[in-house]
């Protein structure tokens, strides 16, 4: 049995190691060198931005042992602050602290139609990805691969269920047609709820780890920034529940997210004297700091 949490960690570590060894170098051209004895900003290796989007989440579980019950996906929204480290001109390391909804719905069918429970979960998520870009100068495509850790911050549940201790007034009947009821709410009053879910420390596993595969297209607006459209697939490798009983049916989130965003390339002031010395050489972080 593969340890699922370790796999995610291994992949992230492997990517970081790979990118570290690709030679974090940047060539400065003649044009970028400012006059002597001045400090001028040059593009840093770091970019920061924001992204916003929508997602669709599936709860992967098994409800075949429940009568007339199924889970369906629900849409959610996501917002993130991408921080990108440019390892070289085609490899980046990206971390995007995000707020991400992972919603799903449980429905009952047939006679039980009308019973439902929409669960809206908010996760604070930190994905770390390796990003490989390709394409032209202005328009580039990229592929992301990485892992994430998330904290299940809050949950809101909304639904309807039969209420056994809220019978209709004596002498009145919900189903007064003298026929068999076609839905349960002809036999029971409904209890409608919309409330904050109270986490149970025995049941709920609020730390989620997972893997990410994604990709997108970016368009460079100018030397300061670029816009992009991005799609990601988040695959949780940890159960939403703690292993509090034998034979527990696991529950996993799977999320398909779509975002649009903007990345601004941070600037770094560099002594032109030092730049002069390094003309047509490679400027590394180490050389700048020395």
């Amino acid at each position: 049995m593969i340890n699922k949490q370790k796999i995610g960690i291994y992949i992230v570590v492997l990517l970081l190691f790979t990118f570290y060894n690709t030679g974090m170098a940047q060539v400065v051209s003649d044009d970028e060198i400012a006059p002597l004895n001045k400090e001028e900003p040059i593009n840093s290796k770091f970019s920061i931005g924001f992204e916003i989007g929508a997602n669709i989440n599936y709860l992967i579980t098994n409800v075949s042992d429940l009568n007339a019950t199924k889970y369906t996906s629900m849409k959610g929204v996501n917002f993130g602050v991408p921080i990108l480290y440019k390892a070289n001109d085609w490899f980046d390391i990206k971390a995007t602290p995000s707020i991400l909804e992972k919603n799903y719905s449980m429905l009952r069918t047939g006679y039980y139609t009308g019973i439902y429970r929409d669960t809206k979960n908010t996760y604070l998520q930190l994905p770390v990805m390796g990003e490989c870009s390709f394409g032209g100068e202005k328009i580039k495509g990229y592929i992301d691969l990485g892992g994430y850790a998330a904290y299940w911050n809050s949950s809101q549940i909304k639904g309807a269920m039969p209420n056994i201790l809220n019978q209709p007034q004596y002498g009145t009947y919900i189903n007064n047609t003298n026929t068999y009821s076609s839905t349960i709410f002809q036999d029971y009053n409904a209890y409608n709820y919309d409330e904050k879910y109270q986490f149970n420390t025995i049941v709920d596993n609020r730390i989620e780890l997972g893997l990410i595969i994604g990709g997108g297209i970016s368009y460079e607006l100018n030397e300061n920034g670029k816009i992009y459209i991005d799609t990601k697939y988040y695959y949780a490798t940890t159960d939403q529940q703690k292993n509090y009983q034998q034979g527990l049916v696991p529950k996993y989130n799977e999320t398909y997210a779509f975002s649009v965003g903007y990345l601004y390339q941070l600037k770094k002031k560099v002594s032109t004297k030092k730049a002069k010395l390094t003309k047509k050489t490679t400027i590394t972080d180490d050389s700048i700091n020395n």
Binding site: C132, Q169, Y235, Q245, Y252
Partner: protein, 416 residues
């Protein structure tokens, strides 16, 4: 050269991504559920036990308050049931029953009853009661139906020593249901006692019962009435709809008495939210503020307990007698609430009759009830305000005189 490197690297990363996506499915625990209750075939004792154990995970609603370590039960008894497969036979039936008795012994659900096809019946709450020397059944060791002066047997035999005047006794010989209403002699206190909660159906179908209940309900709004005694001693409960019928007579606006919840998943702690438990007033309901005394004992169960708890929320109610049985989780069919009674160990279906046979059946609550004060009284019972236990010597006095100290206490609490 650099462009080629970029392309190759992208392709490599793409393949890694595809490879990882193919590997992802192996990163999950096995996502397999068990069968729906009653659908698992059992060919040996191991399968019977496993089906029972799994169905209990799903269908038992009290796991959040039950001290039973169900995983430890599995670890201990799965090997025992495995060993029973070796020598099946008549003697094994009693061993199986004995093991099941041990397994369910600590369950708090006091409705819980396990019936085996071999004829054995196991009620953990009743077993616990018999171990208690103060349990009313141990105190009397007699026909509980003749226990109190409010019982139909008492009235049949000892009518002339009744506490009641203007009384109306209704007795359904078919169902065994009885209902007694009247006024306590020498007072203006109304009295109502009945054997089970089937008031709604009996009221509609039995003219004698209707007269007896009307005798109570009509007088309820009589200004001369100084108080009411509701006697649910020895009453094992019944239809939930009676809550509105009876309690609804004392209120004019909905009364929130607590909360219920059931299951929404197969995990032991997969619970629904708590739903408000509401009593709806009758069309004839009045805002009753006079004293109400509820008589309870150790045999008051289920709807009797809910009735005592509901009436206790009215401004002038006291409960007299003994702590109730402790079975107040409402029941209905399992599929409605993903919890409740179930059959396990599907042995097979008769070709001739189409009847499916199971090794065992469990009678258990579909929902957990939490009182408005936040307490779950399942397995504990609802305590009275005035504890007054009675034994045979308190009731059967010399010269064949019978007395009801609990009823007398109730009468004393109503102003004359």
């Amino acid at each position: 050269m650099k462009n080629k490197l970029k392309i190759y690297s992208s392709i490599v990363l793409l393949f890694i991504a595809i490879g990882c996506s193919l590997l992802l499915s192996s990163c999950h625990k096995e996502i397999s559920g068990s069968n729906q209750v009653g659908s698992s075939y059992a060919r040996n004792y191991s399968q019977v036990f496993e089906d029972f154990w799994n169905d209990m995970n799903k269908s038992y609603v009290f796991w959040s308050v039950d001290p039973t370590n169900w995983d430890a039960i599995h670890d201990k008894y799965a090997p025992i049931f495995d060993s029973l497969n070796v020598n099946p036979g008549k003697t094994t039936d009693s061993v199986v029953a004995h093991n099941f008795k041990e397994i369910v012994d600590g369950l708090v659900d006091s409705h819980y009853n396990l019936s085996l096809i071999t004829g054995y019946g196991i009620s953990p709450s009743l077993d616990r009661k018999w171990k208690n020397p103060q349990f009313i059944g141990n105190l009397f060791k007699t026909n509980l139906n003749a226990l109190y002066p409010d019982s139909i047997n008492y009235y049949n035999i000892k009518v002339d020593s009744s506490y009641l005047s203007n009384k109306f006794v209704a007795y359904d010989t078919l169902s065994g249901f009885y209902c007694i209403s009247g006024t306590v002699k020498g007072t203006n206190a109304l009295y109502l006692g009945f054997s089970t909660f089937s008031l709604t159906s009996e009221y509609s179908n039995n003219s004698q019962v209707k007269k007896s209940l009307d005798n109570f309900l009509v007088h309820l709004s009589n200004p001369a009435i100084t108080g009411v005694i509701i006697d649910v001693r020895g009453n094992g409960g019944g239809e939930v709809s009676d809550l509105n019928f009876l309690i609804g007579s004392f209120i004019t606006s909905p009364l929130k008495i607590g909360f219920t919840r059931s299951k929404n998943g197969s995990g032991r702690l997969d619970y629904t939210p708590w739903a408000d438990a509401i009593v709806t007033p009758d069309t004839w309901g009045i805002d009753f503020t006079k004293p109400i005394i509820v008589l309870t004992d150790g045999l008051s169960a289920s709807m009797s307990e809910l009735t005592a708890m509901a009436l206790k929320l009215l401004p002038n109610t006291k409960v007299v007698g003994d702590t109730t049985w402790g079975a107040n989780g409402p029941l209905t069919q399992n599929s409605d609430f993903n919890a409740g009674s179930f059959s396990f160990g599907n042995i097979g279906t008769s070709i001739g009759t189409g009847t499916t046979y199971y090794y065992g059946s469990v009678y258990t609550s579909s929902t957990m009830f939490k009182y408005i004060n936040g307490n779950v009284y399942e397995g504990k019972g609802f305590p009275p305000d005035y504890v007054l236990k009675v034994g045979p010597n308190d009731i059967n006095l010399p010269n064949k005189v019978m007395k009801d100290p609990q009823l007398e206490k109730a009468i004393s609490l109503i102003p004359q």
